[in-house]
């Protein structure tokens, strides 16, 4: 089990290296994360140079607090980032089954648990690393252009946000075992996240600990560094969901016909 797990994990990491995922995914996240701090700061200059304002008009754009700007980076990840994450994970099992490689791999005495969790871990490593690099870049620019944000608090915020991201990866992995078509995985994963968001906002009084509420707790966390009880519970629920999704993925794959 252990040896197989490491073998698959290393193979996944090597694959990401060979198609340059270790380069472009962090770069993409850095781009997402610094976009808002930079455009917000340079907005007056941008408006001026494009000449969009009528002559004589005076616009007083207030500078937003530093913490808010950092949160803008997180909300970028929440939209564009989630899409990129799903794009890079949508074919990890589905693609192997579709092409037929899975036939050769799973006909060997490979544990399904190792196969699923090693792939999951490899993607979690890549994505979390990219998000951390991106958020550190964001923090740097926020610090430089807007004012002080505690680095420690930013790290804690990123750590809690990571849980939500891991959930996204787990949903995608789970969907990977249900269909052989990567495009369908993408569609299902994004749909589930949207529905989850929608349900949470409609039944907000009932679903106080839904995983999507994590993001709404983050601004307070970033300012005070204090983890509220609701956030702890939401984190716990998220972890439980991640575990059940992984378990579900393993069971589904076991019951599936590989070809």
């Amino acid at each position: 089990m252990n040896m197989q797990w490491m073998t698959i994990y290393k193979k996944e990491c090597l694959e990401s290296a060979r198609n340059y995922k270790w380069v472009w995914v962090p770069l993409v996240f850095i781009l997402f994360c610094i976009m808002d701090p930079l455009t917000t700061y340079y907005l007056p200059q941008i408006l001026e140079s494009t000449g969009g304002l009528p002559e004589g008009a005076v616009f007083d754009i207030p500078t937003p607090p530093a913490a808010n700007v950092f949160m803008m980076s997180i909300s970028q990840i929440n939209t564009l980032g989630v899409l990129v994450i799903t794009l890079i994970t949508m074919g990890t099992i589905a693609g192997e089954r579709k092409s037929g490689v899975a036939e050769l791999i799973l006909v060997k005495p490979v544990s399904y648990t190792a196969y699923v969790t090693a792939k999951w871990a490899a993607h979690v490593t890549l994505v979390l690393l990219s998000i951390f690099v991106g958020l550190i870049a964001s923090w740097y620019y926020v610090q430089l252009l807007f004012g002080d944000v505690s680095f420690m608090y930013a790290l804690i915020t990123a750590a809690f946000y990571s849980l939500y991201i891991i959930l996204v990866i787990s949903i995608s992995l789970f969907m990977n075992t249900w269909t052989k078509i990567p495009g369908v995985v993408l569609f299902l994963t994004i749909s589930i996240i949207l529905v989850l968001n929608l349900i949470t906002s409609i039944f907000s009084h009932l679903l106080e600990w839904s995983p999507t509420t994590i993001t709404s707790h983050l601004p307070a966390l970033l300012r005070s560094g204090e983890v509220g009880q609701d956030l702890w519970m939401a984190a716990l629920i998220t972890i439980l969901l991640i575990i059940s999704l992984l378990f579900g993925a393993i069971q589904t794959l076991k019951r599936r016909e590989i070809v």
């Binding site: 193979k11 060997k108 070809v259």
Partner: protein, 306 residues
């Protein structure tokens, strides 16, 4: 070794494999023979555990509840690899997945690329491999964990004559190490490499046994004549003879299946001389496996029409 009991696989309403039962005994080389769509691939995939039977089961006598995959090596009809890996890397990867130590898997990979004849390309990306090289790599990956049963799905059908020769030789060697079950729709490949054949048609095993037995069981004496011009009138005349069971026309050739070969030869030659048939070719012989193959397939095809 491996026992298949009443194995059935249904896709929707279609029975891909119907209630087949057979034993695969140790050290044998068995050819699973049949036309396209006979259910050969489905059978192999069920043995390999890639497909689940609709009913019936596959049992392995040596493994008591153990993971059957340990003992099985499988080569799909069109093997697919991680194309970004090199041939050697892929073999090492598969070896490591089969719980072989790192040092050992490096050694095995080196040995196997040599053995299947892709040593020159071992450090090249698999995406640059030709079809034949992929097939060889496929065989190498199937045998890397020294399985006791090797399942090969059409191992030689897609190869050029040289590749085919090499793979058949390799299979001859492999017979010493493992039980071989391979599917093919090419009769000469079955005749060449196997000890036993299983003839499948429409999901059923219609004939099985050692090659010699099967041949003997279906061997019929046959006289083949090739004539100029329209052969139809001669065919009709031949069918009236008492010792002729049936005839078969193939372009200019008439295959005459007979009961008493000595009598038939004399009578036919006499008839040819007396009536001055435009004879081009005359042969006395016996039916081959190919005739059997055609016969079985046709016989069953006929049943379907009725």
């Amino acid at each position: 070794m491996i026992h298949l009991k009443n194995l059935t696989k249904t896709f929707g309403k279609e029975n891909a494999v119907k209630n087949i039962t057979f034993d695969l005994s140790q050290g044998k080389c068995v050819a699973l023979l049949g036309p396209n769509g006979a259910g050969k691939t489905t059978t192999l995939k069920m043995i390999a555990g890639l497909m689940h039977p609709s009913s019936g089961q596959v049992e392995l006598s040596s493994g008591g509840g153990d993971d059957i995959r340990k003992y099985i090596g499988y080569l799909p009809q069109h093997p697919q690899f991680h194309n970004w890996m090199t041939g050697k890397e892929f073999l090492q990867y598969v070896a490591r997945l089969s719980r072989i130590s790192k040092l050992e898997s490096i050694k095995l990979a080196e040995e196997l690329v040599e053995r299947v004849g892709i040593a020159d390309a071992k450090n090249r990306k698999i995406s640059s491999y030709s079809g034949g090289m992929k097939q060889r790599l496929g065989i190498a990956q199937a045998m890397i964990h020294k399985p006791s049963v090797l399942l090969l799905d059409e191992p030689v059908s897609a190869l050029d004559p040289i590749g085919r020769r090499d793979v058949l030789n390799l299979m001859e060697e492999l017979k010493q190490e493992a039980t071989l079950l391979y599917s093919t729709h090419i009769l000469s490949d079955a005749e060449e490499a196997s000890d036993e054949i299983l003839l499948m048609h429409k999901g059923e095993i219609v004939e099985s046994g050692s090659l010699q037995d099967v041949k003997e069981r279906h061997q019929v004496d046959k006289v083949t004549l090739r004539l100029e011009g329209n052969v139809q009138p001669f065919k009709e005349k031949l069918e009236t003879l008492p010792f002729v069971t049936h005839t078969d026309v193939q372009k200019q050739k008439i295959h005459v299946y007979v009961q008493n070969v000595t009598e038939a030869r004399d009578v036919l030659l006499e008839l040819v001389t007396k009536e001055q048939w435009p004879l081009l070719f005359f042969e006395v012989g016996q039916t081959t496996l190919e005739d059997l193959f055609m016969e079985v397939v046709n016989e069953h095809a006929m049943d379907d029409h009725l």
